[in-house]
Structures are given as structure tokens and as C-alpha cells.
């Protein structure tokens, strides 16, 4: 999954269509931010308020995946990381 995340080109196309990013305009509440939060969790990194907020607020609506030029399975990455995060505590 980490190698999947690392294909992100940080182009930001996904942010344009993400409902939560458009609602709050904070990077960790948009797909490319969430991917980096997911990466940190999957890599065993420490959690913070922002990590939880980022992963817990994804709507799993998949709007981002349909515009991602790298065809990253964004929702799978977020869901996997979230599962890991909750299982850890």
C-alpha cells in the first residue's frame, strides 16, 4: 500500500473534487493530505489529532479516485490506515 501511495504526484487534481476539502479547505481533510497521513500510519509513525481527524472524516465517496491521473486506490489506502490506527489503540 505504501508503494501505491508513493505514486502520488501531488498534482492536487483530487482536491478540486473532494467534498470535505472544499468544505473546510484544510490539506489534511483532502485526498492528497489523507494519503500522506495514511502513509505515516502504515509506516508505523506516531498518531496525532490531525491524523485521526484526517482519516476519520473521509466520506469514501471516491470522487478523488475518478480524477487521479495516477489511478491511486485512495479510499483503500485511507480505509486500511484507519483500520490500523483504530486497532493500535
Amino acid at each position: 500500500m505504501i508503494s501505491e501511495i508513493d505514486r502520488c504526484a501531488r498534482c492536487g487534481f483530487c482536491e478540486a473534487v473532494c467534498p470535505t476539502y472544499n468544505a473546510v479547505r484544510m490539506r489534511h481533510m483532502g485526498p492528497r493530505g489523507r494519503l500522506q497521513m495514511a502513509r505515516a500510519v502504515l509506516d508505523g509513525g506516531v498518531s496525532s489529532r490531525y491524523v485521526v481527524e484526517s482519516l476519520a472524516t473521509c466520506l469514501r465517496c471516491r470522487a478523488c479516485e475518478l480524477v487521479c491521473p495516477a489511478s491511486i486506490r485512495i479510499v483503500d489506502a485511507i480505509v486500511e490506515a484507519r483500520k490500523r490506527l483504530y486497532a493500535r489503540a
Partner: protein, 305 residues
């Protein structure tokens, strides 16, 4: 925030264990619509109580916040008592909400019968567990899903007709991952009905993310509307398969403030196309309704019959 989410998880797990319903509520609200319909059989119409449950989610969050739980984590420790804070208190839909939910389900049942589909109902049907899965507690979900599956099997059910995208998605796509030898056939009522009339002439469709982007039903409800002459206004950036925005509902229990903001933006987009919005999911209906001023929002099963 993690405390808050755990409080929600405790609340849901505790209630599922006791009642096979995710929130503290009187289960009779789930079966009123089914009175007079034949019980059981190989093929069942399964509501998963979603239409009655949807308006209760916001009410549960309200109660938790009132007792001092906070999604910001400030006094979230209190919410760790999640399941207990309700005491004997039961959540109830308003009379209007309950009537509406019953009406939608009855209409679906009538449309199915008229289309020649034979089915039964299960008056004590368990909730599907979707909320638990969506909150991210997959292990809890998995053990509960196995229980629900056993329930269906013990009653000889082979085919389940769903009425909403959340139930349909977990049954068709998630249960098989966790339930060994899962072999229930899952169909949507929309695949089966043949409506003959409609209550509106023109509207904009608000897609369910699950139907449009996970379950390949984007064209199915549009075709149903076509068949009864309802004009659905389309704009690729508002109602296109890729661009149709989410209602915000899936995070209603986690961050109601963000969910509300998402709904406001969505309502603004939809209102540019029509003053009547058709939803195909009870969660979308509730979340958009709260943000809609001057907009008429109707469920598909309130429009076609």
C-alpha cells in the same frame, strides 16, 4: 477525537448486541411498515431499518454532545461511557419521520408485488451493521455480520431485496469478505420494479456515491424515472458519474459540522438545476434536508409508484 469515535463504537456495538439495532430505540419502529405482508420465504424484502434509522443518527449525536462529549476531544473522556449515557432513554423518530419511512417501504413493497415479484418480510430483521463498518471498526463488524448471515440462513433465505445503498453495499461486497461460504443473492428493489406513474414532472437527481461509483446503478434509477416521464436535469459537473458530490452523511456522526458544510455546498449546486431533488438513499435525504431551504427533497420511492 479518537475518544469520540470510540464512544460511538461502544454505543453501536452495545446496542447491536442487545437489540440487533445500532442505537437505543424501540425496535417496533422497524416493522410497522411490514404489517399484513407475508412472513419469511426464500426471497425477502430487507429494509435493515435504514429509513427509520437515518433521522436517529443526528439525534444520537445531539444527546452525546449534550452529556458533554465533544468531537474536538475536550471532554471526550465522558463519552467513553458512550453506551451508558443513554440510560433507559430511547431515541424516537418524529411521527412525520416514521410515517414517511413506513410509506416509502410500503410503496416499494407494492411496486414489487405489481411487478410480479414474490417475497416475504422478516418482522424481527436485524440491522446490517453498515454503520459499524463505515465507522471503521471492521473486526466488530465482521463478527456481527456472521451473526446476521446465520439469522438469514436459519430462516431459509436465499435472496435478499435491498432498499438502500448502504445495506446493499455491505451485503454484496463486504459480507463475502468476512463470512465463509457466503451465498446470499443480493438485488436492489430498483432492479425489479416497473413503476407506472410519478408524482413530479421535473427534478434533479442527487446520486448516492455507493450506487453511482461502487454498485453501478447510476443509470438504473435514471431509467426508472425515464420510464414514467420524469425529466431529470443533468449537468456533468453536478450530476455526472464522476463529479456528483457526496451529501456529507457518512461523517454525520463523526464531524457533524463538516457534514453540514458539505451538505450546504451540495444543496447549492443542486438548487441551480431544479427546485426538486430526488434522492436514492435515506442518509442523503436526511443530510441534504437539513441544509435545504426552499428546496423540495423526495426519495425515489416517494416519486415513482
Amino acid at each position: 477525537m479518537e475518544d469520540w469515535i470510540r464512544a460511538l463504537r461502544d454505543l453501536v456495538v452495545d446496542n447491536l448486541k442487545r437489540n440487533r439495532f445500532p442505537l437505543p430505540a424501540d425496535r417496533s419502529i422497524c416493522s410497522r411498515w411490514a404489517s399484513g405482508l407475508p412472513e419469511g420465504g426464500r426471497r425477502v424484502l430487507y429494509s435493515s431499518c435504514m429509513y427509520q434509522l437515518a433521522p436517529l443518527i443526528a439525534k444520537a449525536v445531539d444527546v452525546l454532545q449534550k452529556v458533554g462529549a465533544s468531537s474536538g476531544g475536550v471532554r471526550a473522556k465522558l463519552a467513553a461511557a458512550g453506551a451508558r449515557v443513554f440510560g433507559g432513554f430511547l431515541l424516537k423518530p418524529s411521527d412525520e419521520e416514521a410515517r414517511r419511512a413506513d410509506g416509502i417501504l410500503r410503496n416499494i413493497a407494492t411496486m414489487l408485488s405489481k411487478a410480479g415479484v414474490q417475497f416475504g418480510v422478516l418482522r424481527d430483521e436485524p440491522y446490517s451493521g453498515a454503520l459499524l463498518y463505515e465507522l471503521g471498526f471492521e473486526e466488530d463488524f465482521a463478527s456481527y455480520a456472521r451473526e446476521v448471515y446465520r439469522y438469514f440462513k436459519e430462516r431459509g433465505v436465499e435472496e435478499v431485496i435491498t432498499v438502500d445503498p448502504h445495506t446493499h453495499y455491505v451485503l454484496e461486497r463486504v459480507y463475502p469478505k468476512y463470512v465463509e461460504r457466503f451465498d446470499l443473492k443480493v438485488v436492489s428493489y430498483m432492479d425489479l420494479v416497473k413503476p407506472s406513474k410519478a408524482s413530479v414532472v421535473k427534478a434533479v437527481v442527487h446520486d448516492s456515491c455507493l450506487y453511482a461509483r461502487y454498485l453501478d446503478r447510476y443509470d438504473v434509477y435514471r431509467r426508472l424515472l425515464d420510464s414514467v416521464g420524469v425529466v431529470h436535469v443533468e449537468d456533468p459537473y453536478v450530476t455526472g458519474k464522476a463529479y456528483s458530490g457526496c451529501c456529507g452523511g457518512p461523517i454525520e456522526s463523526v464531524r457533524p459540522d463538516v457534514a453540514g458544510e458539505v451538505a450546504k455546498i451540495r444543496v447549492r449546486q443542486l438548487s441551480k438545476l431544479s427546485d426538486t431533488v430526488i434522492t436514492v438513499c435515506p442518509i442523503c435525504y436526511v443530510n441534504l434536508s437539513r441544509a435545504a431551504s426552499g428546496l423540495k427533497i423526495l426519495d425515489l420511492a416517494e416519486v415513482i409508484s
